[in-house]
């Protein structure tokens, strides 16, 4: 479960983003593999599905394909460990989903110094594996909208969310959000606001398409911004077009 302070903040941003997107709340479905409290969901006024860890993307894809009128927003909290494959193939097929990837990697220091070492529950001394460069991965898989913000960039994040919802196809927003209880807690540091401020100070906005160097590592700024905003035919549109072309009158479009 995410830390509640993080999630509350995120829910506020969701609310802004949903409002800006102009979609009626009843048509928005939020699918998540991390739990949101019933209160926050009620505040958002959307339909909420909490799936097994790693299955939010395919479940969301099914939900969307089951009812094409829905706008499905998927919150992925597992850093693409279990859901990497679903991410890959939904992006390839351009499923009409908005993916919000929560990234709560951890830096040692919170207050201004450069981070040197990454820590996590299972690598308490250092993370010896490089993390995914999620924007680059998403872009190369063909996502139509790719952005990354920290949780402090509330306005930009809400804007991005509404843009991503209006973009037709697979949209990815990476949110750098602290996972306080699991990660910082282990180091005895629970200062959320300090961490958020640290993220904010150490990030650099770059609204261009170069995602190659947007990897997150020690001793470097967190590159944030909107990286991709383009158009590509969605899964169901390609399906209807291709089959109509081949089957002609025999085809009944999928609705």
């Amino acid at each position: 479960m995410q830390d509640m302070a993080t999630m509350d903040r995120l829910v506020g941003i969701f609310s802004d983003g949903f409002g800006k997107s102009k979609f009626p709340r009843s048509k928005i479905s939020l699918v998540s593999d991390v739990l949101l409290s019933p209160e926050s969901v009620r505040k958002l006024g959307v339909d909420f599905f909490h799936t097994g860890r790693g299955y939010a993307i395919p479940f969301g894809a099914g939900l969307k394909l089951g009812n094409l009128d829905l706008k499905v927003v998927v919150v992925v909290g597992d850093l693409l460990t279990l859901s990497g494959n679903h991410f890959l193939h939904s992006a390839r097929g351009n499923m009409d989903l908005v993916i919000v990837c929560l990234n709560h990697f951890l830096y040692k220091k919170v207050g201004g110094e450069d981070p040197k070492v990454r820590y996590s529950q299972v690598s308490p001394f250092s993370g010896d594996e490089e993390p995914f460069n999620i924007p680059h991965l998403a872009k190369s898989l063909g996502a139509v909208y790719v952005a990354r913000w920290t949780l402090m960039h509330a306005g930009q994040l809400a804007n991005s969310l509404s843009e991503a919802m209006r973009a037709k196809g697979f949209s990815v927003i990476e949110v750098i959000a602290p996972g306080v209880n699991y990660f910082l807690g282990q180091r005895g540091e629970r200062d959320v606001s300090g961490l958020l401020e640290y993220y904010y100070k150490n990030s650099q906005v770059r609204n261009d398409g170069d995602t190659q160097n947007a990897g997150i590592g020690p001793d470097q700024k967190i590159i944030v911004g909107r990286f991709v905003h383009k158009e590509r035919e969605t899964f169901i549109d390609s399906y209807n077009r291709q089959l109509e072309q081949v089957m002609k009158k025999k085809f009944r479009a999928y609705q």
Binding site: T81, E129, S238, V246
Partner: protein
């Protein structure tokens, strides 16, 4: 091929010492490119002069998965999609072993896509030979994540509508340090690439575009294996270092081959059984 050694040998095919000959003839159809790819791999092994007792081959399920059954090395034919994690386990527990993953597109990119991504991200020292025949051939010709748009398969009877995976781009984006693509016809260059990939510390991927003479070509009316080979002959263009985003394969269009990525990144168990392999797993 280790020329002199093989050329003076009279009493059998030079590949035979590395095959389980009691299992030959193999199950691959006439005109299939997997046998050719296996030839290239064995040639590369001969060239590498590597200790064969320290060489493992891991295959998943599918036509290409059968390679593990024919090659006379320590070979594992594991579950569908799990070739890379299985190989990761071998490599991490025995860093002195050289582990080669030899499997197909459906196995490595579809069901095993997540393992592919994460192994590349970790940059675990494996050599992946990925035979791409655009289709699930073992189960009878279903649409694969590599099937070009508009191609017919048994589960896309009205033409495929999903854009296929661009495997070199996927490998690069996830963090592979060596990425090359050849067709089964570019046999010498393929052999050279396998040698290079093998020597590269880190996650190295060699994609081999191979004819499926029984399903892909039949369902799309492309003739036999030899006709597909002729097509590759005519339509493949060698462009080393081409940016990987240009490497999409369109239906019956040009195929760009070559070596696209050769870079350095910190690898887990970096060397191929060299001194660095002493590092703690």
């Amino acid at each position: 091929m280790n020329t002199l050694e093989s050329m003076t040998k009279q009493d059998g095919h030079p590949i035979e010492p590395l095959l389980r000959m009691d299992r030959i003839p193999h199950i691959w159809c006439p005109g299939c490119g997997i046998g050719t790819t296996l030839n290239a791999f064995v040639a590369a092994v001969n060239k590498l002069d590597v200790d064969r007792d320290k060489l493992c081959v891991v295959s998943g399920i599918g036509c290409t998965g059968r390679v593990a059954g024919y090659i006379k090395l320590d070979s594992f034919h594991v579950l569908h999609g799990r070739a890379i994690p299985f190989a990761t386990g071998i490599k991490l527990s025995h860093p002195e072993l050289n582990v080669v993953v030899f499997s197909g597109d459906g196995d490595l990119v579809s069901i095993g896509g997540n393992h592919f991504l994460h192994a590349a991200r970790r940059n675990i020292n494996l050599t992946v030979i990925l035979v791409n025949n655009f289709i699930y051939a073992m189960t009878g010709g279903q649409v694969a994540p590599t099937t070009p748009v508009t191609a017919y398969t048994t589960t896309s009877p009205f033409g495929n509508f999903e854009p296929p995976s661009n495997i070199p781009q996927l490998a690069e984006a996830a963090g592979a340090v060596y990425v090359a693509r050849w067709t089964a016809l570019h046999i010498r260059r393929l052999t050279k690439s396998i040698v290079e990939a093998f020597r590269k510390p880190g996650f190295a991927v060699v994609e081999v575009v191979s004819p499926c003479s029984m399903y892909y070509s039949r369902l799309n009316r492309m003739g036999e294996g030899i006709d597909m080979m002729k097509f590759y002959h005519k339509n493949s263009v060698i462009k080393h270092g081409e940016p990987t985003e240009n490497l999409d394969i369109k239906f019956q269009k040009q195929i760009i081959v070559g070596k696209f990525v050769d870079r350095e990144r910190p690898a887990i168990l970096g060397s191929s059984g060299g001194p660095d392999a002493e590092a703690e797993p």
